[in-house]
Each structure stands twice: as C-alpha cells, then as structure tokens.
Amino acid sequence: MPSLAIRTDGLSRDFATVRAVDSLSLEVPVGTVFGFLGPNGSGKTTTIRLLLGLLAPTGGDIEVLGHDIRTGAPAIRAASGALMEHSGLYERLSAWENLEFFARVWHIPKPERETRIKELLESIGLWERRGELVGTWSRGMKQKLAVLRTLLHRPRLVFLDEPTAGLDPIAAAVLRDDLLRLVAEEGLTVFLTTHNLAEAERLCSLVGVVRRGRLIAYGHPDEIRVAAAGNHLEVSGRGFTPGMLSCLRARSDVVGADVINGRLCIELAPGGSTPPIVAFVVGAGGEIEEVRRAADSLEDAFLNIVGEAERDAG
C-alpha cells in the first residue's frame, strides 16, 4: 500500500490561454486531512477534477492511491468519494433513494447496503427523515447527506470541495463536527478545499496554499502560521515608552514597532534576530514578561502569503 494518497509532479492544466493549474507539485500522505486553500479562481476545483480524472492534465504527472491518472482513473474513482461544488443529490428522490442509488453504483451487497445507509443516516440524525424528498430539505441537511454519500462505500480517499460553503455558522459548525467524527471513525484521507481558514485550521493536519494555480505555501498549519508571521515579535511586559519606540524604529534591524493592546509588536528586518532586540528593550528600561515570535491565525497567514505573492507578481 502506498504511503502517499496523492502525489502530483509539475501538474499543469490550461484552458485556452489561461493556465488554471501551474506546475503543481504536492504530496498528501495516507490518513491526512489535507486543506487546499486559495482565493476564488485559484485552481482548487480544477485540481480536484484533475485528480479524479475528470479533466486531462496539460502537463505533469498525477498518482492517486498508487494509480497513474492516465491509466488508472477508473480505479481512482472506484476507491474515492467526491463532494464537488454542488451537492450532486437527486432532489426528486428521497434521502434513502439517493444513498441507495449510489450504494448500488458502488456494488454494495443488499444486506450491507441497508445496514450501512441506516448507520450513516442515524449518525447525523437524519434516519427519521429518510423518506422525504431531498428537494424539500435545507441546504445544511443536503450538505450533510452529500458528505454521507461520499463515505457510503468506505472510500480510501475523499475529495470535499468547499463542503460548508453557503451554510450559516451553526450549520457549518455542526457539519464540521460530523465530518471530523466521521473521518476519525472511517480513518480515511481527505482532500478538502475551503475558503474558511478557521475551518481548515481546525480540520487539517496539512495545508497547501494555491494562488493562480501555483502552490505558494505547504505544510502543517502551525508551520505556515509561523512562516507567514516571519519576522514579527510580540513582547509582553511594561515600560514601553514612546522614546523606546522611536529608538527601535531607528534601528537598522527593525522595520517597524508599535504598542498594540499593551504589547510591543516589532517587525524585524530580514535577517534580524531576537536577542539584540530583547537586550535593547531591557536596556531602555522595559520590563519583559514574555517574548515570542508572533504566530498569526491561519487566516492572517493566508492573507500575508497571498498578499506577498500578489506583490511579487507585480
């Protein structure tokens, strides 16, 4: 069994003159919840379609669950579940009929099929409503059912394209909790795209940030936060006077300094290090309780990374 669920190498996809995915190389280990983050139009959905063999790559290699996409797309789809941009549910069919259709598609034997559907519907409290037409349901309920559909055949890999998009915060939180529990119970690999960075931070053990089809950051959410925070220092304590701030700003190893909510926030110049700053602050009469490299939220890190990439692009 391969240790990587997904491996892409120099993956590219062009639509006429637009390059939707640009030299994307990433690795997603088996058993990981991988968050694929990026602004609108950055190539997230196209990447999922490429990984499922629904689109052919213009260049590069894809290996999913040990299968090359060019020869093994049917095997990849057979071992995967996918919730795409839309729920993909048949609204004129009931919840039971929807799940039963897909269970039959995946050749789940009848006795197991019924047990499995019951088990999944009960797990999210929709068993009693199994006979209702899906078209009469709220968006949150439909999304829950669509997530169940992706797990129905016990896939090894699940693609979830913005599963909480358009849901109110409560419905999104409930779906997130259900998803987290189901993923833990089923022990699978998840490839998740989302705009909700707090959601990614909560669910994902590995994230990749993509902009205009290019991967611009990749790693554990904490690593990304720290990397994006870069040369920011946060100093807790007392005695941070305006004079001290002026002297700090005048230093060549400091880009900026300010007091925010009683904390001294310093942005170091590239190559700047912490000890000389600490020595200076103490020397200038400051009383330090704690010094740490500022770790922003993943959302701040994401905005920093994407913003930086925008500036670099000109």
């Binding site: 629904l54 689109l55 048949y90 004129r92 037409l133």
Partner: protein, 253 residues
Amino acid sequence: MLADSWIVMLKEWREVLFRGMGMRGSVGFFGLIVLVFGVAIPARSGTYWITIPWSAITWAWLPLMLVMAVVADSFAGERERHTLETLLASRLSDAAILIGKVAAAVVFAWGMLLLVAVMSLLTVNVSVMRPDPWSHVLLWRWEETFGVVVLGLLFTVLCATIGVMVSLKSETVRQANLRLSMGLILFLPAVALALAGIYSVLPGVVQLGLLDAVQTWQPGPVLFTITAVLTLIDALLMWLSSRMFVRNRLMLD
C-alpha cells in the same frame, strides 16, 4: 457493465418518469396512452385493425413521442440540476452511463409500444367476440408482428440515441426539448422532400421499376432490408454518441 447500466436505467425511470410528473400524473398519462391506442382506436376500427396490412406500424410515431418525453432529461437534466459531475466522479464507466440513459428511454417506449399492441389485439378480439372465440383468435400476420416487435425496437433505439446525443449537447432540458422538436419538425418534411427529389431525377424506366416493385412487393426482402439499414444506423449512432460521451469533454461543455 450491463449491471451498472441497469442501475442507471432504474434511477432514470424513478427520477424522470415517476417523480418528474408525480406518481399520479405518470400513471394517468401512461394509462391514457394505453386507453387511447390500445383500447379506444382498435375498438372503433374492429377487425380492420388487424386485417389491413401495416395498420400496426402506422403508430411508428408513438415510440418517438414516448422517447421524447424521457430522453431530453437524460444528460441536460443532470447538467441543469448539477448532478452530472457527481455521476461522472463515481465508479460508473462512460459506457455504463450512456447505455443506461439510452436503455431507460428504449425499454420504456418499446415496452409501452408492446403493451399497447397486445392491448389492441385483446380489444379487437373481445369487440368481435364469436361463439367459439378460441377457434377464431385474430392475430397479425408475421409481417405486422415483425414490424411492431423488431422494427419498433430498432426505431425506438434510433430515436433514443439521437435524443441522448441532443441532450448531451444541451445545457438545459428546455433547450434539449426545443432542439428535438425543431429537429422533428424539420427532419420529416426534409426526408420526404429528399425522397421525392431523388425519385424525380431518376430515369423513367427506373421510376416505373420502383413503382412495379412497390405494387408487387415481397414483405420478406423489404423487411430484411429495412431491418438491416436500421440496425446499421443504430450501431453508427451508438458509436457516435459514445465518441461524444467523453468525461473530459463533458466537464468542459
């Protein structure tokens, strides 16, 4: 693959035939078709319904209409309701999806045609009931029976395959229906005009020969020829539709 096509076909029936019009609407609509074409018209025609050659296959348009009721929804409906991508992301093969969609229209329309045909035979026999009915059961000759069963099936496949190809290339069910209706309105007169045109440019001797052949026709060779031509066209259209049904291209449409 056939098992997968069967699964797609059943889903299609459940979703489009029974839920699309509602259970009562569907039963009412299909019941009305059987009543009109299987009972009312044959009862009024009496034995002519059975004895006049080719009377049965004059309903060739019946499967055409029935196919059109179902087939426009096949892919355009999935696209319009945003279920196509999920279907394509499943383990179903291209061929299983395509055959399932075509089969849903064919089995339904051909099944209805056979049901109506059997009902019409029953109706005529009951309406002209004799003292000893079992000794005088009225049945079609083999030519008409062949026309309904075999040519009916081939014609239904023809209509369904064309319908599925139109649906594949349509964004909405409405657009697919419009294209099919327009095609039908233009196609039949076009065929008639083309045949008349070809006939008019033929040499007089050939024209006379053709007329003579029609007047003294032998049903066996004619039916065999029509069957062979329809089978060929059906196979060609199925091949063409399989060429059109490519996941990569469908995602871009």
